[in-house]
Every structure is written in structure tokens, then in C-alpha cells.
């Protein structure tokens, strides 16, 4: 386990460095630091993948069974999705928001390390990696949508009050932010749908029921309803901008609650304790 902890720490440091560089870039308006930050982040992504791979080898199961592993995996997904968006839109400011988010998850994850967990036999299924991969990638895409939503609201506020902070000059136009909102939706929604379906297939093979209204499932469905509402509001009623941004933020808060709140506040099959068969 020691190599994987070492790699985890290196990843955390790299994320920390790129967060700092991104923030200097955005607040201090030094574009060259953002470029360095991006490369460091790519390095962080590589070591992060290595972290997950070594953990898989060391534990013999898909490493998403406890809080530490799940936070790490979520952070990995966010960084990967951000870099894909960055490749397309070259948005340093998006990095200044996504990197700290991933960093916070990594720091909490570091505090929540548990020695080699034992897992519930139900997790010994090929549907497990498929399910978590789809679910977390979808969640990460929604995280980017929420970040774009926050930027949209901030920028709109600055425009209305005519008080512009340093951030303003680095923000993409409202139009681009709105199109990111839509793009995220078109990728996040099918991913989330497939995440829920793969979970249903897996549950059916393990317990004989594809749907049992356990809190995690229900919260995933609640989140799905919210995004479905946002989608229809956008595509058919013509909601744009502000309202779409707010719904994207509400949707992501639901994602976070599905991911963390359910485990800590409600009891169900997905809680890390049950996963470890205790």
C-alpha cells in the first residue's frame, strides 16, 4: 500500500501546485503561470491514474469502496473532464475553479485513509467498475456545468452592479458559459442515465431486484429528474443563461448530496460500511 499512498501524496502536491498557479494566473493576471499550472495538472492526472492503478493491484478490487477511494476517484474524474473541456475551450478560469474543488476532495480523502478494506461479496462483479465509472464521469461533467453556472452568476452580477473584480477580465463571455452549460448537459445526462441503468442491472444480478428505492438510488433519480427538467426547460421552453445556470448548480448540489449526504445522513446499501461487509 505504501507506493499508492506515496503516489497519492505526490498527486495531492501537484494539484496543490497547479491550484496555486491557476489562482495566481486568474487573480494576478499572469497568463504564463496558468500554462505551467496546466502542465503540472496533466502530470497530476498521470500520477493520479497510477495511484488508482496501484491501489487496484494492491487491493484486488475496483478502488471505489470507501470514502477515501471514492473522493480520490471523483477528484480524478473532475480533473480529467476539466482537461478535456480545457482542450476544447482553453479556459484557465475554469481551472481556477475545478482545481481547488479536486484539491479539497483530495485533502479530505487524505484524512479519510483506511487500511486495506474488506469488501462485501456483492461488489465482486464486472458491473461495479462500469457503474462507478459511468456515475463518476457523469458527476464530474455536472461539476463543470455547475462551475460554469457559478461563473455565469458572478459575471452577471458584476455586469449589473458595474463593479468588476480581477476575475471579470478572465471570464469567458456569458454565451460561452451558457454553451458550456448545454454541452455538459448533453454529455452528463446520458452518462448519468447509463450509470443508473448499469446500477440497476448489477442490483438485479446481485439481489434480484433492479430497483428498491434505497436512498442512494432515489437520490440519483431525484438528480436525474432535476437534470431532465433543466434539459426540457432549455431545449423546449427556451430557458437560457441565468435560470439554466441556477438549475445546473441545484443539480450539482443534488449530485453532491447523492454522493456524500446519503452516506452520512441516511442509511442504505451504498454506505461505505455496508460495502465493507461489516
Amino acid at each position: 500500500m505504501s507506493t499508492n499512498i506515496l503516489l497519492y501524496k505526490i498527486t495531492l502536491l501537484l494539484y496543490f501546485a497547479s491550484t496555486v498557479l491557476y489562482l495566481i494566473d486568474v487573480i494576478g493576471r499572469r497568463t504564463e503561470t496558468g500554462k505551467i499550472g496546466r502542465w503540472i495538472l496533466v502530470g497530476g492526472l498521470v500520477t493520479h491514474c497510477a495511484t488508482v492503478a496501484t491501489r487496484y493491484v494492491a487491493t484486488g478490487h475496483t478502488p471505489v469502496v470507501n470514502l477515501h477511494e471514492s473522493l480520490s476517484f471523483f477528484a480524478l474524474a473532475i480533473v480529467a473532464i476539466f482537461l478535456i473541456f480545457d482542450f476544447r475551450y482553453r479556459l484557465t478560469i475554469l481551472g481556477a475553479f475545478s482545481c481547488p474543488l479536486a484539491l479539497i476532495m483530495m485533502i479530505i480523502g487524505a484524512a479519510a485513509t483506511t487500511p486495506s478494506p474488506t469488501i462485501n461479496p456483492a461488489l465482486e462483479s464486472w458491473w461495479f467498475p462500469v457503474h462507478v465509472l459511468l456515475a463518476f464521469t457523469g458527476d464530474a461533467v455536472f461539476a463543470v456545468a455547475a462551475i460554469a453556472g457559478v461563473m455565469y452568476l458572478m459575471q452577471e452580477r458584476m455586469l449589473k452592479s458595474k463593479r468588476f473584480s480581477a476575475l471579470y477580465y478572465r471570464m469567458p463571455s456569458l454565451d460561452i458559459l451558457d454553451s458550456i452549460n448545454y454541452k455538459c448537459l448533453t454529455f452528463g445526462f446520458p452518462l448519468m442515465t447509463m450509470g443508473i441503468i448499469s446500477g440497476a442491472i448489477w442490483a438485479h444480478s446481485a439481489w434480484g431486484g433492479y430497483w428498491r428505492w434505497d436512498p442512494k438510488e432515489t437520490w440519483a433519480l431525484i438528480t436525474w429528474f432535476i437534470y431532465a427538467a433543466l434539459l426540457h426547460a432549455r431545449l423546449s421552453v427556451g430557458w437560457r443563461g441565468r435560470r439554466a445556470a441556477i438549475l445546473a448548480i441545484v443539480g450539482f448540489l443534488c449530485v453532491l448530496f447523492t454522493f456524500l449526504g446519503v452516506n452520512f445522513l441516511l442509511s442504505d446499501l451504498h454506505s461505505f460500511r455496508t460495502m465493507q461487509g461489516g
Binding site: 461479496p121 456483492a122 440497476a200 444480478s205 434480484g208 428505492w213 433519480l221 429528474f225 427538467a229 443534488c254
Partner: protein, 459 residues
């Protein structure tokens, strides 16, 4: 009167066709679903009374909060959702069908004005030349166009992936299909459980709700149950049961099931779900009398006093399959003389014998040396039994939902129109195009398309 009636029906129809209703229903479903995640569902009455008090529990009962996902009001919401989906599709589908099957092949100025991708080209070449070149160009770079000649003008129209328009409807219908599958499962299926002791069989199972057992119509026998633990812990790593399906005493089907790998027969599926010990374990010890060196094999159950050669006796007071990291272990109490007066509360020396270390007990230095040869613990296997004839309908719905939503988001219905007409002594070409998804990318494509068209025509 009839006009009034008609307008009332129209109102209802409009209400169920509206997208506002769809959005409101989705949000209502989301918000109400929270209740069932906060209040645990389907628990015995005492648990609610203990946690919330009697009066709150009565309120919960009145509002169906203790089984809300099956309550009349939640089902009503789902029904409204379904009717809304059906009405929206009925209203919009004919228009889309017409759009795809009978597209507007003859583009007039009115159409071009609505297109954001539009260009006009004027060239000195003849109308016939331009028409031929344009047809070749569109065929090569987009798709074979429909040609209409009318009033001295030539109209070209071509479209691609028109069926992408149906992605949305496939997604909507998939939801209805999933609903149908779920209803089939509820009406014709059941969820039950049964515990089968190793070596025995059963032909009935117990439903989750209800007291009467359900007859299977065949028998299921458990030949063997096995559980494997994580080293040094009592947490199960994997557990399996060897099941046999019997019909009229004939073995029909054999399978070793484990978690995630069930057995199915005649639409009924048996899932490995739990296990437990059945009765006391039987232990087999080898006991050696130190003085004489005579060895004897003895069988014992927990708590049973067993006499030993030389007048002594022993019993097993405790047993675990996993003693720290050493595996199976029994705690033994030895009585030096069996027939001595046993005083109440009298304690005898007790010690632990490990199955993995048969030589270990000789170092204890007692009158007898014990080694645990083997133990036989009967288990029962806990099976979830499910019959769900709707499950394949649900999977079909899920498949269509994935396919439908993917094509709705990522496939774009693209159309190109050209109108070629004489302008004074020259030839004018109007070209316009539209895409129903991903317009920015299509704009880039169209810019290239019209630029190349211009060079092609000027040659």
C-alpha cells in the same frame, strides 16, 4: 353546448400536452421523492412510534409516508408524467414524421430568411451548367439531392440522419416501456425468500409481504454451503451454495450460486443473499492420555460432557471458526474425575485448542493432550427468490433509453437547400442549410461548404 364541451376537452388536451406540466411534474417527483429517503420505508409500526411518536406516526400513515413510493399520490404523479409523455408525443410526432418524410424540397425566399446559414452566389455560367455542377457537388460533399424543376428554377434538397429527430421520442417511449415492465413485475411477479438447510429441499418460498407461502411447482435442494472469510476476520469474502432443481424427484438443473451469480429456472431466480448456522457444530477430537500414550478419537457437541479413558472428561465450551489469525479454535474445559461431586459454580481449567496446530496442546502439560481434527457445522443458505416477468421489458426500455438519448443529443438532422434561377443574363444560386443539433460545428462545416461551392462553380 357542444362547442363548450369541445373547448373543455381542448383545455384538458392542451394541459396534458404542455411542457410546463412536464417540467413541473419532474420537479414535483424530485421533491416528493426526498420524503422516502428521510423517513425509512416499510418498517414495522413500533419503529416509527419509537422514533417519531404515536401522533406523528398516524399522520405518516394518513399521508402514506411509510410506503410513499407505492402511495396513491405518488402513483398519480407517475401517471400524470406518463400521460404527459404520451400526449406530447402524439401531438408532436405527426409533425416530425411529415418533416422527415415530406420535407420542403422547394425552397423559396421565405425559408431562406429563417436560416442562419445562407449564401447567395451569382455566376455567368448557364443555368444548366450550374445545375449539373451543383448536383455533382452536393452529391459528393453532402448527399444525393432531390431535384425539382419548376417555373424555370431548379431546386435541390438533401438531408442527412433525418431519423435523429426520433431520438427524443425513442427516449420518451423507453420510459413508458420501463413503466410497463415495472407494472408487469408487480402484477405477475413476486419477491420472496427462503432458508434451505444443507442437505434438505423446499418447494415453497415466503413472500416479503403476506403470510402464505408460495408454491414453486418444483423443488430446490441445497447440497452444500460454503463460506470463505477474509484472513483474520469474520467478514465473509464469498459464500456459495450448491443448488439442485428437482422436478418429480428428477434432478433437472445443478448450479453453484454465489452473490452476483444466481440460478434461474422457469422464470424464478434464486439469489445468494445470506446464510446462517443450523444447530450446534459437531467436533472431532483426537485425545491422547499423556501417561499411557493411548489415543482415541472422540466426537462432541458444544456443552456435551464426554468421558475420557482414565476417568476424566471434557466438554467444548466455546467455538469460533476464526480465532484471531489462527483459524478454527475450540475452548475446552477438562474435568479430572467425572464422578466426583460437582459443586455448583465450580470452575475448571479451560484452554484453547487450534485446528491448525495439532501438536500445540502437548506443551500445555495436562493429563490429556487434545487436538481438534475437524468440525462439522451445518449451515442454511438464505436465498432471495424473485419472479419478474417484466424484467426483460425493463431492460428493453433501458436499452432504448440509452440509444434514444444518445441519438437525441449527438446526432443532428442536417438539411441543405439550393435554388438555382436566372438573374438577368446570369445565374443566381441561393444556398441555405440547417442542423437541429450542434449548430456551431455545423456553421463551420457550412462555411467550408459554401466556399468550396463557389470555387467549384467559378471553374
Amino acid at each position: 353546448m357542444s362547442a363548450k364541451n369541445r373547448s373543455f376537452v381542448d383545455h384538458i388536451w392542451e394541459f396534458f400536452c404542455s411542457l410546463k406540466l412536464a417540467i413541473i411534474t419532474l420537479i414535483l417527483l424530485a421533491v416528493t421523492s426526498i420524503i422516502g429517503t428521510v423517513i425509512q420505508q416499510g418498517k414495522p409500526a413500533q419503529e416509527y412510534i419509537q422514533e417519531y411518536g404515536e401522533s406523528t406516526y398516524k399522520l405518516f400513515l394518513a399521508l402514506d409516508f411509510v410506503d410513499m413510493y407505492h402511495s396513491w399520490w405518488f402513483l398519480t404523479l407517475l401517471n400524470v408524467f406518463a400521460i404527459n409523455l404520451i400526449c406530447c408525443s402524439i401531438k408532436r410526432l405527426p409533425r416530425i414524421l411529415k418533416l422527415v418524410r415530406e420535407p420542403n424540397r422547394v425552397a423559396e425566399d421565405g425559408l431562406y430568411r429563417t436560416l442562419s446559414n445562407f449564401e447567395e452566389i451569382v455566376t455567368s455560367a448557364s443555368l444548366q451548367d450550374v445545375s449539373r455542377k451543383a448536383q455533382e457537388y452536393v452529391t459528393k460533399n453532402f448527399g444525393k439531392p432531390d431535384v425539382t424543376e419548376q417555373d424555370g428554377k431548379v431546386y435541390l434538397f438533401a438531408q442527412k440522419t433525418a431519423w435523429a429527430r426520433f431520438g427524443v421520442y425513442v427516449t420518451h417511449i423507453s420510459i413508458l416501456i420501463i413503466f410497463v415492465g415495472a407494472i408487469m413485475g408487480n402484477v405477475w411477479g413476486y419477491k420472496a425468500y427462503v432458508n434451505v438447510v444443507e442437505g434438505t429441499s423446499t418447494d415453497e418460498v415466503w413472500p416479503r409481504s403476506g403470510k402464505e407461502p408460495i408454491k414453486l411447482g418444483f423443488e430446490v435442494r441445497c447440497d452444500r454451503f460454503a463460506v470463505e472469510y477474509y484472513p483474520g476476520s469474520t467478514r465473509p469474502k464469498e459464500f456459495t451454495s450448491d443448488l439442485v432443481v428437482l422436478e418429480n424427484g428428477q434432478e433437472i438443473l445443478k448450479k453453484t450460486i454465489e452473490v452476483n451469480d444466481p440460478l434461474s429456472y422457469k422464470g424464478i431466480t434464486f439469489y445468494q443473499s445470506s446464510y446462517g448456522q443450523m444447530g450446534d457444530a459437531q467436533f472431532i477430537f483426537k485425545v491422547t492420555e499423556r501417561e499411557t500414550g493411548t489415543t482415541k478419537e472422540v466426537r462432541a457437541r458444544r456443552g456435551e460432557m464426554i468421558s475420557l479413558p482414565g476417568g476424566g472428561g471434557f466438554r467444548v465450551v466455546d467455538f469460533t471458526e476464526q480465532f484471531q489469525n489462527f483459524g478454527a479454535a475450540a475452548r475446552i474445559e477438562v474435568v479430572p474425575e467425572l464422578d466426583h461431586d460437582h459443586k455448583p459454580g465450580e470452575k475448571h481449567a479451560s484452554f484453547v485448542v487450534l485446528k491448525a496446530f495439532p501438536e500445540f496442546d502437548s506443551r500445555r502439560g495436562g493429563k490429556y493432550i487434545f487436538s481438534l481434527q475437524d468440525f462439522k457445522q451445518k449451515y442454511y443458505t438464505g436465498l432471495q427468490v424473485a419472479k419478474d416477468p417484466g424484467v426483460w421489458v425493463v431492460w428493453l426500455g433501458c436499452f432504448l433509453m440509452v440509444v434514444g438519448s444518445m441519438s437525441a443529443f449527438f446526432l443532428s438532422h442536417r438539411r441543405v437547400w439550393l435554388t438555382i434561377q436566372p438573374v438577368d443574363d446570369k445565374t443566381g444560386i441561393k444556398v441555405g442549410a440547417s442542423a437541429h443539433r450542434n449548430q456551431p460545428a455545423f456553421e463551420i462545416y457550412f462555411d467550408e461548404f459554401k466556399k468550396n461551392l463557389k470555387t467549384e462553380l467559378s471553374e
